[in-house]
Symmetry: C2
Subunit: 230 residues, 2 copies
């Protein structure tokens, strides 16, 4: 068993190579176990071990009876920063917001520079989707995170689009930063960001994002008094 | 088996709670399986399953015969951004550098504001360590990544210190950005950052980090001609 491991690791690398070479996308189906056995020139047990290890890394998804697919999770782990090791706290929520303030205004700037027409359309659609949920007083955290993810994708930066979900859909957001009085502000700021990206106005996109995040931040901290606190 | 899973998940949550409540650090030893069975009021199999799942998330480390410990990996997964799904390329290396340019100058700024005397000492020591390796013409990538991680820790921001390793010790750095002609520049810039942090001079820390990263970036891209390219 001990000397099987490097073999399974090499098989996993082989599968990753296959995914990259064939430019496979989430949801695409992998060759069958038997085909992989031939492609990688290893035994069935090794293929199974390799597939298991890639599934545990959220790269593959094994659907019983249907086959093995590229996971929608895109290889991104649940809680990849290991934040669940830290106690949930106001400090953690503020720390996360400070990280978002470092990266998301620059991301909005780059999004306005590089967004394709299709990306702009997807962003505007998502903006409307969040808006509707907020106006209907429904939970909107997930759709909100997707809005921010789409802005990341508009940058065309491969790392950014994978980084944004880490700081928006994070466990620490269980701290409630979406109290009622911030909902209207979120509608306004989202719309400003989306429209600035749509008309390729990077400065405004950045400013709107800074404003959005600072309003959210002021909902966690008492260190600034804003008109919203009246 | 299907309805065992929520139980094991709750047991895993219980272990996380225990870790947080007792403020455990990497390397600390967890209670024995039997103690956990009593603490969590579940069966041995459930405890084992919970420990397994936390080990696969790099939160725990099971050392045969010695017990279960909090992992040094701090819950951070190998390749947490799923970048191994993307082909290695110049674009990926530039994208990563652009993300570093978004966050690391601000991190250097905050490090200079908040570093404790102990953190400053650790940073200066690590600076010397990298310097020695570079001067001896030895591989220094890992110690270099640790230097940048220590700057992240100087900020006191819990998210930052977990985020920096993701962008410095990443798989994409297999693209060689540490060619000879950048080694001397790295020595100079690192020293400038470390000294600015040491004297709590945030503006200079930020400028030195911007310079450092732009010099590295110019080693990947041809879009700027610098005196170094002569």
């Amino acid at each position: 068993m001990a000397n099987r491991k490097p073999l399974a690791q090499r098989a996993a690398e082989g599968i990753l190579d296959y995914i990259r070479t064939n430019d496979m996308k989430p949801g695409d189906r992998l060759p069958t176990e038997q085909e992989l056995t031939q492609l990688l020139e290893v035994g069935r047990g090794t293929v199974r071990e390799a597939v298991q290890s890639l599934a545990s890394r959220n790269i593959l998804e094994v659907r019983q009876g249907a086959g093995t697919f590229l996971s929608d999770k895109n290889g991104i782990m649940e809680d990849p920063l290991g934040l669940s090791l830290e106690p949930e706290s106001q400090k953690m929520a503020l720390d996360m917001m400070d990280v978002r303030l470092m990266i998301e205004p620059e991301i909005a700037f780059k999004a306005a520079l590089h967004a394709t027409p299709e990306q702009v359309q997807a962003l505007l659609d998502q903006c409307s989707r969040v808006e509707k949920l907020i106006k209907a007083n429904k939970p909107y955290r997930e759709e909100d995170a997707l809005f921010h993810k789409l802005i990341g994708e508009c940058t065309g930066n491969l790392v950014v689009s994978r980084l944004v979900p880490l700081v928006t859909s994070s466990v620490v957001l269980n701290v409630d930063v979406t109290r009622d009085r911030y909902r209207d502000q979120t509608v306004i700021c989202h719309r400003q960001v989306a429209q600035a990206v749509a008309r390729h106005d990077p400065e405004t996109a950045r400013r709107a994002m800074i404003m959005h995040l600072h309003i959210l931040r002021s909902g966690i901290s008492d260190d600034m008094t804003t008109p919203l606190n009246d």
